[in-house]
């Protein structure tokens, strides 16, 4: 017997792949990643305020390969969620609902995410 499809699990079994739904799911995943990242944010703020060994340990963790990989992932999640969030706010204000516009803004969000992430890391690596 086939299971009845239940709402948040429609993709990809029941719905064909579309950039719009894929970006919508990515928005949520990026949001969850950023919520997890708020732990590091608070930890870093406390480390800056405490100084001494805690700051040294925090700095060592951030500069380690795992720390840099996490930061890289969070930077993508941050720029994506920011750009796509602006796209959502435009929809909330009633703009960009035509299918063609939704596709275009979706691709624009992906391009902006890539450009901003690359620029940020170029600055870190070169400055």
């Amino acid at each position: 017997m086939m299971e009845r499809p239940i709402s948040p699990f429609m993709f990809p079994t029941w719905y064909r792949f579309q950039i719009t739904s894929a970006l919508s799911i990515l928005h949520r995943l990026a949001g969850i990643a950023l919520a997890v990242g708020s732990i590091l944010l608070a930890w870093w703020l406390v480390a800056v305020a405490s100084g001494g060994q805690l700051f040294a340990a925090t700095h060592a963790f951030i500069a380690s390969p795992i720390g840099m990989l996490l930061l890289f992932g969070w930077s993508i999640a941050f720029f994506y969620h920011l750009c796509n969030g602006v796209r959502h706010l435009a929809w909330d204000a009633g703009y960009g609902f035509e299918i063609r516009d939704a596709y275009r803004s979706g691709y624009a969000v992906l391009a902006a995410t890539a450009v901003l992430t690359v620029l940020a890391w170029l600055y870190v690596l070169l400055a």
Binding site: P8, A42, L89
Partner: protein
């Protein structure tokens, strides 16, 4: 019977009539407040996150003293506190909507909501205390 005015070209952000319709005779309960909070914090977070990201990039290679001096000065202290609080409020609304989609048992839903709220309060409290410590030590 009087015909209700068309809301075809209205959206909730642009036209209060949408809010008035869903709030009073409509189906909206407390969720509308959350919807508004999510959008308002989103708007606030656009400049706040850009400010914080630019500051972090600028601080990327500096030592603890520079970072502490920056975080303790009045404008960064205020903006970082606002950023953390708006971010946590925004994250709570978002995480709750994820929980509502995926957690189908009442017990687990309540437990998970308590957990994310407690987490946000602890992270927010620790962040605010950290910034205030540096600000007040100036």
């Amino acid at each position: 019977m009087a015909k209700a005015p068309s809301l075809a070209n209205s959206t909730a952000l642009r036209d209060g009539a949408v809010f008035r319709r869903v709030e009073h005779l409509g189906s909206a309960r407390s969720g509308l407040w959350e919807w508004r909070l999510q959008r308002l914090t989103a708007l606030a977070l656009v400049p706040l996150t850009l400010y914080f990201a630019a500051s972090i990039l600028w601080l990327a290679k500096s030592d603890q003293g520079t970072a502490a001096a920056w975080l303790g000065s009045p404008v960064p202290a205020l903006l970082v506190i606002l950023f953390v609080l708006a971010g946590l409020a925004h994250g709570l609304v978002g995480l709750r909507s994820v929980l509502l989609d995926y957690v189908h048992t009442r017990t687990w839903l309540i437990a998970a909501q308590l957990l994310i709220r407690a987490g946000a309060i602890i992270l927010g409290g620790a962040s605010v205390l950290a910034v205030l410590k540096l600000f007040l030590a100036r």
